[in-house]
């Protein structure tokens, strides 16, 4: 085996960052040189793959959270097909299941995210909807407005997803005051129960 000497070069980096790396290297029982090289290799690999590392780390958070919320990740095209067939074969029960899934999710946020459950739900559902180009959920003075636009959604899927959102909103204590659903587009307005609809 031929040993090839690796040439080293020095670089200046912010002292506070280097100190933190030193502490990590020490904990892991390795050299600072090895750790810094590994970091550079990772960043260069990300660049080659065309991946934004920061975004990738955030997506990891999404995967972990989705797991806790009872979601799994399935191929999107296949999912739309399955939904379409189920909707044709068993419409009422399929609608019921979607509504219940929404209600379950909202209940979970109410129980677990005690501080601002609706805000936490909004963050999560937006993160899980990475395949949906536009999703806005606005809450103001006891009224909620939801707008979801995705050209990829089939007619049946749009209906089912709207029922899912309805399940969420009703469990959070809102009453649906307006709903418009057409292929790929959902608009829902809701008002906190016991509160009048503002014009």
């Amino acid at each position: 085996m031929t040993l090839k000497s690796i040439k080293r070069k020095s670089l200046f980096a912010r002292e506070d960052l280097v100190n933190r790396l030193l502490s990590i290297a020490k904990k892991q029982g390795r050299s600072l040189y090895g750790l810094v090289n590994e970091i550079f290799e990772l960043v260069i690999r990300a660049e080659d793959l065309g991946v934004n590392l920061q975004k990738a780390f955030k997506e990891r958070w999404i995967l972990k959270k989705a797991r806790k919320d009872g979601f799994i990740l399935v191929p999107e095209g296949l999912w739309y097909e399955i939904t379409e067939i189920a909707f044709q074969n068993s419409k009422d029960e399929t609608l019921k299941r979607w509504f219940e899934a929404g209600a379950w999710l909202a209940k979970r946020y109410i129980e677990v995210e005690t501080e601002k459950p609706f805000e936490a739900f909004k963050r999560s559902i937006k993160a899980y909807s990475w395949n949906v180009p536009e999703i806005t959920i606005e809450e103001d003075d006891g009224q909620v407005s939801v707008r979801i636009i995705s050209p990829r959604m089939t007619e049946s899927y749009t209906t089912l997803y709207s029922v899912f959102i309805q399940g969420v909103l009703e469990t959070f204590g809102y009453k649906i005051s307006g709903k418009s659903v057409s292929t790929g587009a959902i608009r829902i307005k809701a008002v906190r129960k016991g509160q009048d609809v503002k014009e």
């Binding site: 020095s10 970091i39 990738a56 009872g70 979601f71």
Partner: protein, 194 residues
């Protein structure tokens, strides 16, 4: 925040690549270095090691390209049950084709597509308690175990996995399953001569 600087050593080859990226992005090398370290510290803060972050990169890339949708597991299980009623064959064929497409993509894009496929399953199918892949000399064994997977869900997943391996250029030599358990063994397909 400290403005003092300290010297760190990096291998010359990596520095050259880093300089090239910094040049492309129109930023000084010093900024690139600091951003890289900050990212590594972020990974640490979020609770994973650099090796894990590297695997995540590939899975993230594959997920985005192949198109994954988050769906509630309870609804998924119900829909699978409804759809597969009496039409198991065509339903399973859909899963098989979807797997084959994924397998082909992974084979084209990655040096070790089986490892990436395993990471992909781990990242997307957390209804599986355990996924084991043993890459032996003459065959690859894959075992999945789940306590929540339904009968039909198991069948569909089996077809998806089989499709993925076929897409990666393998053929099935053993296929065994029961509710919540999949045992598959593959061997590399011999090159087709034209």
């Amino acid at each position: 925040m400290s403005k003092s600087k300290r010297l760190v050593y990096v291998s010359e080859d990596l520095i050259k690549e880093a300089m090239e990226i910094a040049r492309r992005e129109g930023k000084p090398l010093g900024v690139f270095v600091e951003e890289s370290i900050e990212l590594a510290l972020l990974a640490k803060k979020l609770g994973y090691e650099l090796k894990e972050a590297a695997d995540l990169l590939e899975v993230t890339k594959a997920n985005r390209i192949l198109g994954g949708a988050f769906v509630p597991l309870s609804v998924f299980n119900y829909l699978v049950k409804v759809v597969s009623k009496g039409k198991s064959k065509s339903f399973n064929e859909r899963w098989y084709e979807s797997g084959r497409l994924h397998g082909k993509y992974l084979k084209e894009k990655f040096e070790d597509p089986i490892r990436i496929f395993k990471e992909f399953l781990k990242a997307s199918r957390w209804d599986l308690n355990e996924i084991e892949v043993i890459d032996g000399e003459s065959s690859v064994k894959l075992r999945c175990f789940s306590t929540v997977l339904t009968d039909k869900g198991t069948e569909a997943l089996l077809k998806y996995v089989e499709g993925a391996f076929h897409g990666m250029g393998y053929e099935t030599i053993r296929s065994d399953y029961m509710k919540g358990m999949i045992i598959l063994e593959f061997k590399k397909q011999e090159d087709t001569k034209y």
